[in-house]
Subunit: 489 residues, 2 copies
């Protein structure tokens, strides 16, 4: 009944505790195990097992190793990088997942500097297009433009959001003064009470969808505000220059994960999905089809909805299990389209388009910094991602080109190549960019996000105290958990 | 990319398709399998595998067998019954899970009649107590009583709920005329706009918590209304006489599951948690630690949050996987307290108490129909269940007795025995009574509730077209899916 770990029921763990601890990192046979199981399994011993080789897990492992601890990173997938991933289009390597960096994402910038990967600014010379409610505006600069009569209310609504977000503690949103009330409603409920002009409502809905890969009617207002607070403010989430879409990495951000993994070498084990985590007073055993790892502590970096598929012995506290049932991943499909040249630039356009007439979008200019080719990158997010995820790639390609042509002309219909990643249909990811809780989750279950359970610690961008949902947040969570674990070794 | 099943990646399935189909129900060795795996596994062949031995699964299996098909029911737990379960307190066998039946739950009543288990009315002679906002009312009859000045608004609010529910199609709530709008808000958001008197708000919150094991701030308004529609109306959910709490089963409703399982005999396999479901053009393979089952069709009756832990090959469509991430189980702890006599009856009380001053509650008289002992049954639901689930049993017992004594006097402090089931901490259940989606789930993902994926069909009370969340709904879902599957055999 107590929430601490105990171990009446796990026979394998019993056996394991009989085996001698080997030198760190060296595989040992398990003479005490049943003959059949022993034939198929080996047990490796380390100080810390890290589950997941995304930015959170790789950062954790590097930090712990730098402090002299032995680690292993167990990754279910056949690659590292988590929600970042390389892809190749028209001879260029691009990011199929996370890609941008902003000036206050200092941990990601520091990592890039350390590993020798440089950044360049998101192209923004020219006019952006916003097309909402049948009113199309082409404008320069950072402030989104709507039909003129909607602008005062739009600015007022953004101001209200910023004022509310400023009062929410990013790392503990459940401690906000009016947390219960903010968490008992959706962003949509707040929006319809606080914005009258249809263009303002639509604009907030589109921006929310683009930031969260989810709909205003699905997201807790408290989470929405906490997410903005974790980025500094809402403006930072939606902005290019100075915001979350400020710059890109030469060659792609995925390289940073690969460089970290290369440094960790054999300590990163791929295609090793964790089946169970069993702990007792002596340590913790992490089981995979590639064998068992015995450790003193374990760090789980997978998002809650993925971590919920691991079997825990003893079982997770109700608080933590309840959280894992209530943190769905957003829905997203990321698309790259390559052209022989960036023809939109010739018409004075940045390539950035946000529209309520298209399924695809927003999209951005993503042209290579060398050569003369052009490319666009964009998203099916939220409801459109969900509507399109189970359809064939040809259907999505057709829709994307049609949507692009609406604003960029018929030249958009003749790409050199089309490339996509259907994150929301990938069984090891189940969506992206990040977990998006509905109402009533953070206030009731939020503290379980970071609360260790015995020898199990939690990381991942969902647990960050700044830039939740971003690569920077993942790194921060890894740094935090490495400290937390090191204090117990 | 297509949503239909295909089979590039599952090697075991490849091997299986090489083996000959045996006579139905007869285990066959798998000569084509790799030597090591074959040594440990056997494959059994049936027409249909049913996952889960609750009322939905057992009903499905009985129906299919009655139509001449061979079946197996694979159950992860060491017992049948799903969200019903027997317990023993003071020499009496009681229901630790679902227990009541109402007059319109015709499928459950028919099953009880067929299997020879009789019902008796919930005790309701005397006064119920409602204590809200510091105003305590003892009243007779079905209509809840609040402080007099709140009653007109309370009746008006219930009337509004009934009017809205009447317009929601229970089986396809996403097809309601204003489905998007209803689904974009929580019950709480609607409540604060439609009820001003604090006692009315509190009463709706307490009733919602008691019906859904969740909070008004967590539940989609559309789901709330659809749930009422599936019960006939909201009144049916909250009523004793004529409603969902009308009658009890002599000896407990769990017996019905046990009797169905006894009839199915060896076709029910306990402690066989399903690890994976792999399908191709030739059939479907269901893997458990007790061996594999090969079948033509499979029926999964586990709630979506539990079914999400199975590995599917090919992977689930995004629509279905997305649903499983967004259907958390409510939080509930069910408690029985036994006394030497039903002392509250002596004071003219029914034993039914609903209060905003207690953590525990509502509770009901649950005294045995024979003998002179008395007992109460009640709940920690929603937020209180969640707050108390990870604490020790002694703490809960203390709180329960304290809460009971507040209304029934000090005699409540001296029970003969205390018995509880912490559903929300049970790893194979993860909560109860039922899955409770937040806003934006039904309209976006709802159709995946019943939509088959190739050879995989879905049942369970969550998929019912009437009495969703109740045993009656589970039976109905089993009847529906048995027809659906039989049509494909």
């Amino acid at each position: 009944m107590a929430s601490g770990p105990h171990n009446e029921h796990d026979e394998r763990r019993e056996h394991l505790s009989l085996s001698r601890r080997s030198a760190l990192g060296v595989a040992v046979g398990l003479t005490a195990m049943g003959a059949q199981a022993a034939a198929a399994r080996t047990t490796n011993v380390v100080d810390v097992v890290v589950v997941g080789a995304g930015f959170a897990g790789l950062t954790t492992a590097r930090r712990l190793r730098a402090s002299g601890h032995s680690v292993v990173v167990l990754e279910a997938d056949e690659r590292v990088g988590g929600r970042t991933k390389p892809g190749r289009i028209a001879g260029e390597v691009v990011d199929l997942g996370g890609q941008w960096v902003g000036p206050t994402q200092t941990r990601l910038l520091a990592l890039a500097k350390e590993l020798g990967v440089s950044t360049y600014p998101q192209f923004d010379a020219g006019k952006n297009i916003i097309d909402i409610g049948g009113h199309r505006v082409a404008y320069e600069g950072e402030t989104p433009r709507l039909v003129p009569e909607a602008m005062p209310e739009f600015i007022e609504v953004i101001g209200k959001i910023e004022a509310m977000a400023a009062k929410v503690p990013a790392a503990q949103p459940w401690q906000a003064a009016d947390a219960e009330q903010l968490d008992a409603q959706t962003v949509e409920s707040w929006l319809v009470l606080n914005a009258k002009h249809p263009a303002v409502r639509t604009m907030i809905r589109l921006m929310t969808r683009a930031v969260f890969s989810a709909e205003t009617g699905q997201i807790s207002l408290l989470y929405f505000l906490a997410y903005a607070a974790a980025a500094g403010d809402f403006n930072a989430l939606i902005s290019t220059r100075g915001g979350a879409q400020d710059s890109l990495f030469e060659g792609g951000v995925w390289q940073l994960a690969q460089k970290m993994a290369a440094e960790l070498g054999a300590a990163v084990v791929l295609e090793a999905p964790v089946q169970s985590i069993s702990q007792n007073n002596d340590g913790v055993t992490v089981a995979t089809p590639k064998g068992d790892w015995r450790a003193r502590q374990v760090v789980v970096t997978a998002p809650p909805a993925i971590a919920s598929r691991i079997e825990y012995a003893p079982p997770l506290p109700a608080q933590r299990d309840g959280l894992t049932q209530r943190m769905p991943l957003g829905c997203v499909i990321k698309v790259h389209v390559s052209y022989s040249r960036p023809f939109w630039r010739e018409e004075g356009l940045t390539g950035l388009v946000l529209s309520d007439r298209t399924e695809f979008g927003p999209w951005f200019d993503h042209s290579p910094t060398v050569g003369s080719t052009g490319s666009l990158v964009g998203f099916f997010d939220g409801a459109p991602a969900q509507r399109w995820a189970d359809r064939p790639v040809e259907a999505r390609r057709g829709q994307v080109l049609k949507d692009l042509a609406l604003y960029l002309g018929d030249a958009a219909l003749s790409p050199v190549e089309y490339l996509e990643e259907v994150w929301t249909r990938a069984p090891l990811n189940r969506g992206g960019y990040v977990s998006v809780p509905g109402p009533g989750v953070l206030t009731a279950f939020g503290p379980a996000l970071r609360e260790p359970f015995g020898r199990i610690h939690w990381a991942g961008t969902e647990t960050a105290d700044a830039w939740v949902g971003y690569i920077d947040g993942a790194i921060r969570s890894g740094e935090r958990v490495a400290q937390e674990v090191a204090a117990k070794l």
